[in-house]
Each structure stands twice: as structure tokens, then as C-alpha cells.
């Protein structure tokens, strides 16, 4: 869109907004009047307006996290058990695609600029209905399991700086078979866990239809699942970045 068209659009929309401001204001006023008429609901004075918020409180993402490509590439080559990885063993520039990843759309893998952590082959996690979507510097893998459960695994290089102590001073768990400490939290509809590996944030959600079921009543199933999520695949963009970082 040209800047002139943008300006024109801005002016038109500005006018529309000016009108809708009045409408919205009236709507809010009506609701307020209804509320006042209904019962002793206290209409306290409006206190904090977002206009007064310190810009420092507008949380903005940091630059994409630096990936430990060396460790990621090493792990991605740990199990060269399919033809794509055999090729990778001969050609260091070739993407390393593990068996689960090989079933997923190659386009999504290749545009993902981070190590794609996935369930290990033959482990406890069912992978037959796996679906992946890539955001470039993040991806989300959906893994339907038995009995209405589903796992969602997200890898993300884009994070916001936390206040001091918000991670270090809060509870993190040790999980058998997992090197990193893990944040584990019960959800209203399941469990979630997150940890940092290769410089990337990984999150595993377990959604449960029946929260009282054996797999959802405690975090035991989720912990076992995290330990099973150990394969790494690197698509074309990730491998390109690893090469640029000097990884052989």
C-alpha cells in the first residue's frame, strides 16, 4: 500500500473511529446506568487507565535467542536411522530429519529456524496423528493421544525478559531422564511444562478430557512424556544457520 493510500485510509478510519467512539461511549454509559439501577453494585471511580502505564511495562520480545547449534546438531545426528539421516551423515550441510519429522510437511520443517525437538521413535508418545505448524522462529507440534488426551509441543526462540527472580526464584522440578530443570504447572484442563534446551524454550502441554483419569490426576504422565521428547530434527533454514555459526 502506498503511503498516500495509507494516509487516506488512516483519515477515513479515523473518522469512523471518531463516530464509533461516541457509540461505544454511549454503550458503556448505558451499561453503567443499568448497573446503577439494578442493585447496590458499587461503581467505583475508574482507577488505572492504560494511558498512564509506564512504557517500560509494555513487554516487548527480545531478539531471537542464540541457539546452541553445536549441541543441537550433535543430538540430531545421534540416531541416523532413516535414509535422510544417512544422507546427513555423509553431507554435513544436509538437514537432519528424524523419523517423526519425516512424516510431517517438509515445508514446515525447512522454514523452522530452531532445533525441532520431537518425541523419540518407539517411545510412549503416539505419533501417528502428529501435525506441525511453523512460525519460523517457533513451531507447534500437536500429538493426539489415547482417551481424549493430547500433547502439544512448542519450541520458541522469542522470549520476553522476565523480572529478576521470576524464573530463578520460583519452583522448578527435576525430571528423570531430563538434564534441565522444568517448570511444571497444573492447568484448568491438564498440565504444562517448560524448559530451556539449546537456548530455546520448549513447552509441553497435556490436555485432558477427563481430569480425574490416571494420566491427568498427577504430573506423572507429563513427566514421562517430557523424558521421551528427545529427538532433534533440523530443517534447511536451521541447518543453514548452524553452518553459518560454524558448526561442522
Amino acid at each position: 500500500m502506498s503511503s498516500r493510500v495509507k494516509m487516506a485510509s488512516a483519515i477515513v478510519i479515523g473518522g469512523v473511529l471518531a463516530i464509533t467512539v461516541a457509540v461505544g461511549f454511549a454503550q458503556a454509559q448505558d451499561a453503567k446506568n443499568n448497573a446503577s439501577a439494578s442493585r447496590t453494585t458499587t461503581l467505583k471511580p475508574t482507577a488505572v487507565s492504560t494511558a498512564k502505564i509506564n512504557p517500560a511495562l509494555l513487554r516487548k520480545p527480545e531478539a531471537p535467542a542464540r541457539v546452541d547449534w553445536s549441541a543441537a546438531v550433535m543430538q540430531s545426528r545421534a540416531a541416523p536411522i532413516n535414509t535422510l539421516n544417512l544422507k546427513a551423515a555423509r553431507d554435513p550441510k544436509a538437514p537432519t530429519i528424524q523419523p517423526l519429522a519425516a512424516r510431517l510437511p517438509r515445508q514446515e520443517l525447512d522454514k523452522t529456524r530452531l532445533p525441532m525437538l520431537m518425541p523419540k521413535t518407539g517411545g510412549m508418545i503416539k505419533i501417528d496423528k502428529a501435525k506441525v505448524v511453523s512460525f519460523g522462529d517457533a513451531y507447534s507440534l500437536n500429538l493426539p493421544q489415547d482417551k481424549g488426551m493430547q500433547l502439544t509441543l512448542m519450541g520458541n526462540r522469542s522470549m520476553i525478559k522476565a523480572d529478576r527472580g521470576m524464573i530463578s526464584a520460583k519452583a522448578r522440578a527435576k525430571v528423570n531422564g531430563v538434564a534441565e530443570t522444568v517448570r511444571i504447572t497444573k492447568l484448568e484442563d491438564g498440565w504444562t511444562a517448560s524448559f530451556r534446551r539449546y537456548g530455546v524454550l520448549y513447552t509441553v502441554d497435556l490436555l485432558c478430557e477427563d481430569l480425574q483419569s490416571a494420566s491427568c490426576a498427577t504430573d506423572g504422565y507429563l513427566r514421562a512424556a517430557i523424558a521421551d521428547i528427545s529427538e532433534v530434527s533440523l530443517g534447511a533454514e536451521a541447518m543453514k544457520e548452524a553452518q553459518a555459526a560454524g558448526v561442522k
Binding site: 495509507k6 454503550q27 458503556a28 448497573a35 511495562l57 517457533a138 517448570r183 513447552t203 478430557e209
Partner: protein, 282 residues
């Protein structure tokens, strides 16, 4: 007495991307409209040619972090963790408040009707970190409610649409849950709970644009072990989760994906909604 709040509103987001279906960043939360008056003067590069000061309607709302009396020790963070998002309901008014410490909630057993006028009235009230057994690192007590509860316009289930907060992708579909992951960094995850399953207009990994209808707000609380439907009050439970990082003095970097308080972002989004931002996309 009502006040008008003057906030420069960046308009490019609305004219360039909304409704295109393929927009990836400029209309999404991290870069779009109303990142506060202060932010627009310095950080928003397009503001010089596209911003315009308009009056946004204020509305009665208690301040962020001020929870219902006796409902917990709350939290301290006033940040807007999702600047520029669309208010997650298509219709106004809507009422952010507690489902427990209000009529129809377990803390008010003598007032059993969730449809009491008190529940469908301003002012809004924050209920992030309200007393719950779930862990939540941002709460002063280390545990508490992980989102903000919002009642729709009237006390009717399966009538009011929940809409997408920013351009993104549907990354979770549970029995009562829809999650949207934002296209733009930091790829916030917005989770909508208590949706009517049969009304959902989106499927897993569908792309959505800000303001797009997702499904109807209901009282769905999933099913129990016997397959029986469970119910809560009629409301949207709205969560925002953001990846965060902390560098320790020895250089160690830690990361976690934590719930953040939605209230400040919701107040801002609601003011813009009342001013016409985020038209509903079918």
C-alpha cells in the same frame, strides 16, 4: 463522572492487515495499535504518518491487581503483556470479574444465581491470581487463577462469540479449549476455556486474523470419568502465556513459559473495542 482518555491510536494496523487472512505481523499484538501514548512517540516507527489522537472511552474498572476482598494475595505486575490485542469477545458490554467470589460462585453460597445483576455490571474486577490450588509463579502466594474470567453481554450460554486476539494459528483444540498462538514474536499463546465445542468455527492449525470468530462462550467444563458433561458459570476464561527469560549474575540463562496477567491488556483492548477497533471477522 465519565472521563475520556486520549490515546494516540495507530491506524495502519486496521487498514493494512485486518481481515486479509494472511497478515503475519503488522496487525498482531506486538506491533499494532495503541501501545500507549508514551510508546507511540518513540517505539512505533510508523506513528508519524499514521497516528491520530482520538478519544477512547474509559469505562468503570477497578485497577489491575485489585482482587475481590478475601480472594487471595494477588500479584504485583502492572505490565501490558499483550499490547494491541483485540478484546476476545465480539459483543460489548462484557464483564470481567470473579466466578467464585460473586453470586453463583462457591464463595457466595447464599446467592445462588449466576445471573444476578451484580455479575453483569461494571466495574470490571481483576481475578488473575484469585485463590486456586494451581501453581502460578506470578502470584504473590505462588499459586492462583491463571487467567481472567469474563462474562459475556448477558447471562446466556452459547450466544456470544469469542474472537481471536491477534493474527495467529489455532494450536490447541480441547473439549472446552481453543488456543491461538500469535504469528508475531513473542508468539504468545492465548487460551480460551469454556467454549461450546459444537459451535467452533476453527480447526487445529487454521490461521486466524484478529477479531475473527472462534466459537461461542458457554458454561462447558468438560466431561467427567463417567462421560457426564460438567458445567461452570457462563464465562470465558482467557489466559495469556508468554515465554520468558532470565539471566543470572553468573551468566546462566533460564527460561520458562508462564501465565501472565491479562487484565491490563484487556482494559486497553476493551477501550479500543468501544472505540471501534477490532471489527468482528466472520
Amino acid at each position: 463522572m465519565k472521563r475520556l482518555v486520549l490515546i494516540p491510536l495507530l491506524l495502519l494496523a486496521a487498514c493494512d492487515q485486518t481481515g486479509t487472512g494472511g497478515g503475519t505481523s503488522s496487525s498482531s499484538a506486538s506491533s499494532s495499535s495503541s501501545e500507549s501514548s508514551a510508546a507511540s512517540s518513540s517505539s512505533a516507527s510508523s506513528s508519524s504518518e499514521s497516528s491520530s489522537s482520538i478519544a477512547l472511552p474509559d469505562f468503570p474498572h477497578d485497577p489491575a491487581t485489585q482482587l475481590a476482598a478475601g480472594s487471595g494475595s494477588g500479584y504485583a505486575d502492572l505490565s501490558n503483556w499483550a499490547p494491541g490485542i483485540c478484546f476476545p469477545l465480539a459483543d460489548t458490554p462484557a464483564y470481567a470479574n470473579s466466578q467464585v467470589y460473586r453470586p453463583g460462585g462457591s464463595a457466595r453460597p447464599s446467592e445462588p444465581s449466576q445471573c444476578a445483576a451484580e455479575n453483569y455490571s461494571y466495574p470490571w474486577q481483576d481475578n488473575f491470581c484469585e485463590s486456586r490450588s494451581w501453581s502460578n509463579p506470578l502470584c504473590n502466594s505462588g499459586q492462583g487463577h491463571q487467567g481472567q474470567d469474563i462474562r459475556p453481554k448477558t447471562c446466556k450460554s452459547n450466544l456470544y462469540w469469542a474472537v481471536a486476539p491477534e493474527d495467529g494459528v489455532v494450536t490447541q483444540m480441547g473439549s472446552m479449549t481453543v488456543a491461538i498462538t500469535g504469528n508475531a514474536p513473542p508468539h504468545r499463546v492465548y487460551r480460551y476455556l469454556h467454549m461450546q465445542r459444537s459451535s467452533l468455527r476453527v480447526a487445529l492449525h487454521d490461521t486466524v486474523v484478529r477479531g475473527q470468530k472462534l466459537g461461542l462462550v458457554s458454561n462447558n467444563l468438560g466431561v467427567n470419568s463417567q462421560g457426564q458433561q460438567q458445567y461452570t458459570t457462563i464465562h470465558l476464561h482467557f489466559e495469556i502465556r508468554v515465554g520468558q527469560t532470565e539471566t543470572l549474575s553468573d551468566g546462566t540463562v533460564l527460561s520458562a513459559d508462564d501465565f501472565v496477567p491479562p487484565y491490563t491488556a484487556l482494559v486497553d483492548s476493551y477501550q479500543r473495542k468501544l472505540a471501534g477497533d477490532c471489527p468482528t471477522v466472520e
